[in-house]
């Protein structure tokens, strides 16, 4: 029974972390699909969202409003980043663009450090500190929230891409940007929108995880890197596969932490990254979807 409750506990913590990685990974896939850029600053949007939200809540702003405002603020930062750093360099080689996003990530980290300092902040859980008991395992309500919110976001995005005009325009840019432009779709606006949307998703991820793991200026890098692993495992341009990849990374890490050693969990997820890169560069799920983009 002891072993079973530990298993459930690890399963839930893996799903929680996985849902966070999935939100960030989804933003990454959207950015990559529309602009062809591997945005290494993606995780920092989560960090900014979490820290904004903590500050607003601590200053008496109602919780839901604080979440909304933080997401909007981070989306604005994402848009600014696109205009100031990505647009001027969009004709540069891929490697240059990657390094530019690293530079941007450093700027975000640094600014957060100047504004919020090095201490981690705590955000209160969405619905009290209560916990759920399942098979002897103690599961925080916040974990349930994390999973629900990410699933709801995926559903909303799915509807957006398949049911709305703008969503279809974005999808058109992904499939064939040249043709999309001929049809009168403004690709530069799409690029701006894609990065802003990714920033918003990242911010949401950061806000959801903040009550569980705290918010600090340097939380972005690891979340971002894990999200990339998830996206690469999923094949970079395939959103459902990236989500699956994110849960895989989350569960792998959680079980590695529980059954092996917490110190090696990073090595395990990056080991997975290397294996996938070497042996299946189109991602683990390339065959499953039957489509190579």
């Amino acid at each position: 029974m002891e072993a079973w409750s530990q298993f459930v506990q690890l399963l839930f913590s893996g799903l929680t972390v996985g849902s966070i990685y999935a939100l960030v990974a989804l933003g990454f896939v959207i950015t990559y699909s529309v602009t062809g850029i591997l945005n290494l600053a993606q995780g920092d949007f989560a960090m900014l969202g979490a820290l904004f939200c903590v500050t607003l809540v601590n200053n008496g702003v109602p919780f839901v409003l604080a979440i909304g405002l933080s997401i909007v603020a981070v989306m604005a930062i994402g848009a600014l980043f696109e205009r100031l750093a990505i647009q001027p360099a969009r004709r540069s080689p891929v490697a240059v663009l990657i390094i530019i996003t690293i530079g941007a990530s450093f700027v975000f980290r640094g600014i957060a450090l100047l504004v919020w300092g090095t201490n981690p902040y705590a955000l209160r859980p969405f619905t009290g500190h209560g916990a759920l008991e399942v098979f002897g395992a103690v599961i925080q309500w916040q974990s349930v929230w994390a999973i629900i919110i990410s699933l709801a976001s995926f559903a909303a995005l799915h509807l957006f891409f398949h049911r709305t005009y703008i969503g279809k325009a974005v999808a058109a840019c992904v499939i064939n940007p040249f043709a999309a432009r001929l049809m009168g779709i403004d690709i530069r606006k799409m690029s701006l929108g894609a990065i802003a949307a990714s920033a918003g998703l990242g911010a949401l991820a950061g806000i959801v995880i903040a009550p569980i793991s705290g918010a600090s200026y340097d939380m972005g890098m690891m979340i971002g890197l894990k999200a990339f692993i998830a996206a690469v495992v999923g094949g970079l341009t395939n959103a459902p596969a990236a989500i699956a990849g994110a849960f895989l990374v989350g569960l792998l890490e959680s079980f590695a932490e529980g059954y092996l050693s917490s110190g090696y969990k990073e090595a395990i997820s990056f080991g997975l990254l290397l294996l996938v890169l070497f042996f299946m560069p189109n991602g683990l799920f390339a065959k499953m979807t039957g489509k190579r983009v």
Partner: protein, 354 residues
Amino acid sequence: MEHGQRMTGGRKRWLWLAGAAVWLGLPWLVFGNNYVLSTLVLIGLYALVGTGMTLLMGYAGQISLGQAAFYGMGAYTSAYLTAHAGWPAWLALVAGAALAALVALVVGIPVFRLREHYLALATLGFGVIMFTFFKEWKGITGGLNGFFGIPPIRIAGIPLQSDFQFYYLVSSFVLAGGWFARNVVRSRVGRALRAIHGSEVAASSLGVNITKYKLQIFMLSAVYASVAGSLYAHYVTFINPDLFGIIPSIYFLIMVIIGGTASVWGGLVGAAVYVCLGEWLKAVVPLLLPNAGGEFEIVFFGLLLVIMLIYMPNGLTGVAPKGLRRFWKTSWRQSERATAVDSHKARSIGGEQG
């Protein structure tokens, strides 16, 4: 490269001699000021790493986001072999370099089949994995607490402990490293690398063994980093894993970009600018922003990196000569194709991966 060959041999020799004279005379010019000397030593150590990375990035056109792993490998090998196994420091330094070269070979074989995004991610992943080992392999590395009491390096039985002595040691390594890199670049290997950089397909159709050359240069860059790491370990006598993580790898990258990958001396220029700017910021920023924490330079270096890449992609050594502009402009052909349409880089690369 080209501009260098246009210079007459005599003028070049004078330039070299003058440079060497300044380098050798520097410790006296700074009146034995230990702060300045230790800064110079640091520049020299970073310059060594940077020279290796310049070869890799500028000449072979390959990106590495995990170079600090090799730096750490040298440092830990030296630390362990001298402190625990009683080896002489020189032998430990060579052992570290050999280990780094071996690891670069083993890691490089699969890694260099990848390109661009994938290559960047793979080298980053390698960096994180090595960092985990430095952190977790406590019996060898001392874990997060670090590794204390690394014995000094000795020349003819005399331990090198002062900044003054270390300046000469490190500077001779930098000069030798720069000279060697310059010869590599001008040799058959260098020409092959530039061919690879220009077009991998064209190079291979001319009979250039692309994988072999990329691997060799990766191993060489690992040796540069490892030697610098060994020297660092013997210089400060204390190391910890944070010195060899992803952030230091990115700092090395920033140095190389600032200096420019166009010349083998880009690493030295970049290291000098990076260290001096860092020291200057440490002195100035607290006056302007009294509440700033310890890492405020990262904002500045992040901005500098972005601005350099957008407006001065060839770095400081690449501003003038035209031939050197080749690195960023023609290395990645896919991206050129993509200039016609703003966004479609993703799929053209993804397609070629399969």
